[in-house]
């Protein structure tokens, strides 16, 4: 089943085109979105979350055209969304915040709603913090709370904009476990800057750059685009597009073959850097 069907979707803010005729289809599973800042990831995810409308093109979610207000509301009943940035109502506890979002998600029965709140608090490991005021939670806990609100009501479509920001490694693993389990029978779209997240749990990745989808496929194919162009050596070559010193002291270089360097297996990050760097990235040295 196709949960997401975008056809020629563009979005303009004034004269600036943020998305340029993006066409995309996705079914159950995790779809990763990679791209530099300003690539249009957040705009695309806001459209998928029905928060913003496209300037042109057609958006169908869960088989419904979201241009129709009634169908859009139907989609929202089955949608979970983690925005890139969000705040919290002042003075609320973690439980009260989720209770509030539960009401917005049309859960009128108090008892059932509270049971659901307890369930999602347990899923994100925040049950002991249920009665703590949000302003007293750490950044990672607040992020888990935002993830918890997206899980309320067991949504069919999850749209997560940089959900792992602020999570420590253990919480990140727990998040991957939760999302992977949910993605077995529903569509999850995850935008991230973390290529390791993509490698870890996204069977498919879309690379956005300047509003266009430059790549759409499995992460290993993205990595393979850098095959024969990643080298490790002792000295930096002037012809390298990107070069950085790795943890074991070797200088990893992406681009043309440097003298005396060894060809190495490319990573997803190499493929990504080559793809987006091909257009406009200057040659620069990146500290590892």
């Amino acid at each position: 089943m196709t949960d997401i069907r975008l056809t020629g979707v563009s979005k303009n803010y004034g004269r600036h085109r943020v998305l340029d005729a993006v066409t995309l289809q996705a079914g159950p599973g995790v779809l990763g979105m990679l791209g530099p800042n300003g690539a249009g990831k957040t705009t695309l995810l806001r459209i998928l979350a029905t928060v913003a409308g496209p300037s042109a093109g057609r958006v169908e979610l869960l088989g419904r055209d979201i241009a129709d207000p009634a169908l859009r509301t139907e989609v929202r009943r089955k949608l979970g969304y983690v925005p890139q940035e969000t705040g919290f109502p002042s003075g609320f506890t973690a439980f009260e915040y989720l209770d509030y979002v539960g009401i917005l998600k049309e859960m009128p029965d108090r008892r059932a709603r509270h049971d659901e709140v307890r369930r999602v608090l347990d899923v994100v490991g925040l049950s002991p913090m249920a009665r703590r005021r949000i302003r007293r939670l750490s950044g990672g806990m607040k992020q888990r709370l935002v993830i918890a609100q997206a899980l309320l009501g067991d949504p069919r479509l999850l749209v997560l904009d940089e959900p792992t920001v602020g999570l420590d490694p253990e919480q990140r693993l727990r998040f991957r476990d939760t999302v992977s389990a949910m993605a077995e029978n529903r569509c999850v779209v995850v935008s991230t800057h973390q290529t390791e997240d993509i490698v870890a749990f996204c069977p498919r990745v879309v690379v956005l750059h300047e509003g266009r989808a430059l790549f759409d496929g499995p992460p290993r194919e993205l990595a393979a685009t850098a095959a024969g162009r990643v080298w490790e050596g002792a000295t930096r070559d002037a012809g390298a597009r990107l070069a950085w010193r790795t943890g074991d002291g070797a200088l990893r270089q992406v681009g043309e073959p440097p003298a005396g360097a060894q060809l190495v297996e490319p990573s997803l990050e190499d493929g990504y850097l080559l793809l987006v760097g091909r257009a406009d990235l200057p040659v620069e040295e990146v500290a590892a």
């Binding site: 806001r46 979350a49 029905t50 928060v51 207000p69 509301t73 139907e74 929202r76 009943r77 949608l79 969304y81 925005p83 940035e85 969000t86 705040g87 919290f88 109502p89 002042s90 003075g91 609320f92 506890t93 439980f95 009260e96 209770d99 509030y100 979002v101 009401i103 917005l104 998600k105 049309e106 009128p108 108090r110 008892r111 509270h114 049971d115 307890r118 249920a130 009665r131 935002v146 609100q149 749209v159």
Partner: protein
């Protein structure tokens, strides 16, 4: 541990709910201090009843406290979930109170000024409910804007609920307005146009966004006030009976549309 124990027959009757309240209380009192009888009553207890009792206990302990303002809204007849949404918009409430207070102070200060100032007050006052809508729904005023926008809850109902906490302040503005105009009828002339503008902004919001709808309507209103005054020579031309009737019809239509929207949303639940 007590030296005596409850009879098995009584324990069974207690577990099955066949004892009267006095005897039940007596057995419960004994069970709290007697591990042997607590163990003896277990086989008679229905697991479903025990689970329900445990879930009730957890629910009672976890239930969020209900703030005074929210309790007041419930006492006034608002459903508990709606009261929570209305009370949750504390940021919006503060901004509303601030905005209304500014207008009220302006009105009181203008009390001793000439009739021209009073006319200007009447012209600006209808924009107060409009500004309230902006505050109640604008992304800058409500930190959860994107989370709310992605939820299925009726936007119209939510905005109306968010506006609810400021009704007393709107009353204050009305009172302040009555202080600066010569008679009480003139004092309320702004009310219907104000409500009509707020309703129109809500209707336009879904098509052009809250910011554009409010800015456009505010400009149109000020243009209408200036234009009608210039063409007729009357400072209160913008509040003529035809405008009042038209405003009333717009408010009435909005109220009917809101009721129908809410009913449709309930049917879909």
């Amino acid at each position: 541990m007590t030296p005596w124990h409850t009879d098995d027959g009584i324990l069974a009757a207690y577990a099955e709910g066949r004892l009267d309240r006095a005897r039940s209380a007596s057995v419960e009192q004994h069970l709290t201090g007697c591990a042997r009888c607590r163990a003896a009553v277990l086989p008679y207890a229905d697991p479903a009843v025990l689970n329900r009792a445990w879930a009730d206990t957890v629910d009672t302990l976890d239930r969020p406290r209900v703030p005074l303002f929210e309790r007041m809204l419930t006492w006034l007849g608002l459903p508990a979930s709606s009261a929570r949404l209305a009370a949750g918009a504390s940021a919006a409430r503060r901004a509303w109170v601030f905005g209304c207070a500014v207008v009220a102070v302006y009105a009181v200060l203008a009390r001793d000024l000439d009739g021209r100032t009073a006319t200007w007050f009447l012209s600006v006052a209808p924009l107060v409910p409009l500004t309230g809508v902006a505050v109640a729904y604008g992304p800058g005023s409500f930190p959860m804007h994107d989370v709310v926008a992605a939820a299925p809850y009726s936007v119209l109902k939510l905005v109306l609920l968010r506006c609810l906490p400021v009704l007393p302040m709107t009353g204050l503005v009305l009172l302040a307005g009555s202080l600066i105009v010569p008679d009480s009828v003139t004092a309320v002339l702004w009310l219907l146009p104000g409500l009509a503008l707020a309703a129109l902004s809500l209707a336009a919001e879904r098509y052009i966004g809250a910011g554009w709808s409010i800015a456009t309507l505010a400009l149109l209103w000020m243009g209408f006030v200036t234009g009608s005054r210039w063409s007729t020579g009357s400072p209160l031309a913008a509040f003529a009976p035809t405008v009042q009737v038209l405003s009333f019809l717009i408010v009435l239509t909005a109220a009917v549309a809101a009721a129908l929207t809410t009913r449709r949303a309930r049917r879909l639940l």
